[in-house]
Symmetry: C2
Subunit: 211 residues, 2 copies
């Protein structure tokens, strides 16, 4: 769902996009590509990562490492990888929890496994329809980005602005990749707000500052 | 610090407040009480809890259970207990983490140990100066409350409005006490914003809703 939304918007913006899957002929990916025309492609995770100048990791967070391991280190070397996922899973009682957190995060796991890749955690605190159209939520509201490479964070801030219309001043750099712990840990409250309070996923956090 | 801020504001509002400590003659508590006059008292945790019509648990979150266990079940029976604390601790590398989270929370631990007490988790996502003076942060911004007792949550919403000036419409009921997982897990991002981005603790989250 997230990959579909991001990929569609990027193709509509004139970019060439390759959607990666476990197999090159994944049915859902091919259906997505054929609906969008010649700039939309499908491939294995490995070939999609090799194709991209920029790689967006938007698999289910508990499966992201497996997908990226199937790519290997070389196709991702020196590239910006935007990690959009949260390691959500269902607990025994049916509630949604994080598979790991607090002293660990998906962002850190990716950066640790791919030290030559410039990992930027971003967009993981909003629903995919807000990711690509922030004006669905009125006024100012924030994204949080983090990563170890300052230039990569600046580039991603620029891309989020150009691609999706996020105002640069609403994108808050919260530090190195260990800050992904904090942004991924926003999910349990987000899920409550979504499921029990607001009833739809079109909302976002705004950090309001006093003095 | 939190108890001092809350207690002072409540005394200034005309309430009788007893500050609990491990010992009845705790020096910091006595200094606090003597600065405020005859409505401010000090006592052991047990006697303070017995004294209060409403009990506010605002010890350091990793020590809250120990303080409450020294009170015992009876002094807290049928009372509203507002749990303001977060179970923060320092990790080996110096970073601030939660001592437990995700499938557990301090709010749940208190409710589970004191089933006859009406536990409401509230105020734990803001600094103590914002707790007692929300107008330090301009415009609308939110508190999250949760607990198993709907009437207790309604009462606490009213108290937060009367005591501290929180607008009732900005206090979001996020469900039963297990929602404390989500509000306590807001702390790692809060700490980053405090320490690395904003540089002071006078900010808050506002949930902005779209359609």
């Amino acid at each position: 769902m997230v990959g579909n939304a991001l990929g569609t918007k990027l193709v509509q913006n004139g970019h060439e996009v390759t959607m990666g899957s476990r197999t090159a002929n994944n049915e859902a990916a091919q259906k997505w590509a054929s609906s969008l025309g010649e700039r939309a492609h499908t491939a294995t995770f490995r070939d999609a990562a090799a194709f991209g100048e920029i790689v967006v990791s938007c698999t289910g967070g508990m499966h992201s490492m497996e997908a990226l391991e199937s790519v290997g280190v070389e196709p991702l070397r020196n590239k910006i990888l935007i990690d959009v996922s949260n390691p959500l899973q269902q607990d025994k009682d049916g509630s949604v929890i994080l598979g790991f957190c607090n002293t660990d995060s998906l962002g850190e796991r990716i950066q640790s496994a791919f030290p030559a890749t410039r990992v930027v955690k971003a967009l993981n605190t909003v629903n995919c329809e807000i990711m690509i159209e922030p004006s669905r939520v009125p006024g100012d509201h924030n994204l949080f980005i983090c990563g170890n490479d300052d230039d990569a964070k600046k580039d991603v801030t620029k891309y989020l602005s150009e691609w999706f219309g996020w105002k640069a001043e609403n994108i808050i750099d919260v530090g190195d990749i260990t800050a992904a712990r904090g942004t991924e840990m926003m999910m349990p409250l987000w899920m409550r707000l979504f499921q029990d309070v607001i009833g739809h996923p079109h909302f976002n956090y705004h950090i309001v500052r006093g003095q």
